[in-house]
């Protein structure tokens, strides 16, 4: 099922414990380049493996042409992958799917090191999975969940004050500020978020995210975080929000942070997708793990 093209090949796969996961493996045409970290691209919400505006197809092909093997696959119950039997909650099922994907790639001889790529919910899954698997040496997180900060609220209120409709919404007791105030009060008195919801302002969520980031940077995992001006949840409004939300995480050189002010959450603009592709390719090409992989290859040959 290989499809040979310029600089890469594409192969349709079914894998996982019950061969229920469907994905496309894109490999460099040149074998000698195949020892860079393997890249695994995760679903965004219920969008299947091609991604919004086919952005993952293009990104995977470019990464493969630059020497990375890349797997784009569907989580259980998404796209063409069968739903998972059993009692795992959706997040646990996604984490298990990632584990099965990496192990499968390992069986193919592509499992030395990995970079996980995800947008929105995909970024959150990558982030949660990363600390559990030492083979993960890099994460590309596009609009991951970031708790709001004081500066975020200042931006948010400043923007809303300019709109008469916002005044009306506020006066009626609606809108984000009210919702967050109610949620904070709920957490203060009950220590529990609203039933059926996990709130990003919940201190437990913030604490968990902080622990995850700390574990990753302590281990030396490299992070590329791209934030858009048009974050779907409206939870991010400026470049440094990640750093200010997690002041106790020593990101230092482990983090490359990009802010695409003019991009919407799903990179609808072709020029923004092109920019994203360049940022990712530059990052994968210059991060130390690329050199480490090359060094390991040299030692083996």
């Amino acid at each position: 099922m290989a499809d040979v093209m310029n600089g890469f090949t594409e192969q349709a796969l079914m894998f996982g414990r019950s061969r229920s996961l469907v994905g496309i493996l894109v490999r460099p045409a040149s074998e000698c380049q195949a020892r860079r970290p393997t890249v695994v691209i995760l679903n965004t919400g219920i969008i299947h493996r091609v991604g919004h505006h086919r952005m993952y197809v293009t990104l995977a092909r470019q990464l493969a042409a630059s020497g990375h093997s890349v797997l784009r696959f569907d989580f259980s119950g998404i796209g063409d992958s069968r739903s998972r039997d059993g009692v795992l909650d959706p997040t646990a099922a996604c984490l298990e799917d990632v584990s099965e994907a990496l192990n499968y790639l390992g069986d193919l001889g592509l499992g030395g090191t990995f970079i996980l790529v995800g947008l929105c919910s995909g970024a959150d899954i990558a982030l949660r999975y990363g600390p559990s698997d030492e083979r993960v040496v890099g994460l590309v997180l596009l609009d991951p969940t970031i708790p709001p900060t004081v500066r975020f609220y200042a931006h948010y209120i400043g923007r809303r004050l300019m709109r008469s409709r916002s005044w009306l919404t506020f006066a009626r007791g609606r809108g984000r500020i009210w919702q967050d105030m109610i949620e904070r009060a709920r957490l203060l008195f009950t220590a529990r978020p609203q039933e059926g919801r996990s709130s990003v302002i919940d201190p437990q969520i913030r604490g968990e995210l902080e622990r995850v980031y700390k574990a990753l940077v302590t281990r030396g995992t490299r992070l590329l975080v791209v934030l858009t001006g048009g974050s779907m949840q409206g939870r991010q409004s400026y470049r440094e929000q990640l750093l200010e939300a997690f002041p106790n995480v020593p990101f230092d050189d482990a983090l490359v942070l990009e802010h695409f002010e003019d991009s919407d959450h799903t990179f609808t603009s072709a020029s923004q997708r092109e920019r994203l592709k360049k940022v990712v390719l530059d990052w994968t090409g210059t991060m130390p793990f690329a050199a480490e992989a090359t060094s390991r290859r040299s030692r083996h040959t």
Partner: protein
């Protein structure tokens, strides 16, 4: 279900084959013609469900991506409506080869319906029946916006309607504009969701009633 690539080396197409379960009698097979762009992404879950349901009642199903779309080869934008119609013909040949079916059903959604109609008119011996789901009735306007350089009138259903196979079903779930010619065909209307509209990606809702209606009509 089997994911695979087919077509010529210059125009590799990605397909997903759902074999008929418990087939009986005449071999029945269906090729799906998906919408383009975001509508394809939004409707993906629905079309997968439809394939699964048809497979369960004994119909072989091939879903595939046109050249330059989805998982198929080619760059986004490297395509034309005429080229995509050729891809549908390639998919028909592939499914017939895989299943030994004499002819196939075409199930097209949105602009996929317009292209399915065109192919059905051009290949009457290959296509037994057609389901045209929320076709683009203002074909010229739609295609001018999305694909320059094509002969848009070839895909205008009001011009194709008289030559469509006798067994043609128009399924309407969305805000499709009405056409006098279309109204003369067999039309099934279903209330509720349209699978190609963006809101569906947030909830994963599928138009169950429409799926059941299509399966019943095809079998």
């Amino acid at each position: 279900m089997t994911p695979f690539y087919f077509g010529s080396p210059e125009r590799r197409l990605f397909g997903l084959y759902d074999p008929a379960r418990n087939p009986a009698g005449k071999v029945r097979a269906a090729v799906f013609c998906h919408p383009s762009g975001d509508e394809h992404v939004h409707a993906y879950r629905t079309m997968r469900q439809l394939a699964s349901r048809l497979s369960a009642v004994g119909v072989h199903v091939l879903r595939f991506d046109y050249y330059g779309t989805g998982d198929s080869a080619g760059e986004t934008g490297d395509s034309s409506i005429a080229g995509w119609c050729n891809d549908i013909r390639t998919a028909i040949a592939e499914l017939k080869d895989m299943t030994q079916a004499v002819d196939v059903s075409l199930v097209g959604l949105r602009c996929g319906a317009n292209m399915a109609a065109r192919v059905a008119v051009e290949c009457p011996n290959e296509v037994a029946d057609v389901v045209l789901w929320d076709p683009v009735t203002a074909a010229q306007e739609f295609f001018v916006e999305s694909q320059s350089g094509d002969d848009f009138h070839q895909f205008d259903l009001s011009l194709l309607a008289d030559d469509l196979p006798p067994r043609t079903l128009v399924v309407l779930t969305g805000p499709s504009s009405r056409s006098e010619k279309l109204e003369r065909l067999s039309v099934a209307r279903f209330a509720g969701v349209s699978p190609w509209i963006e809101e569906r990606t947030a909830t994963g809702t599928i138009p169950l009633e429409a799926l059941q209606g299509i399966v019943k009509w095809l079998t």
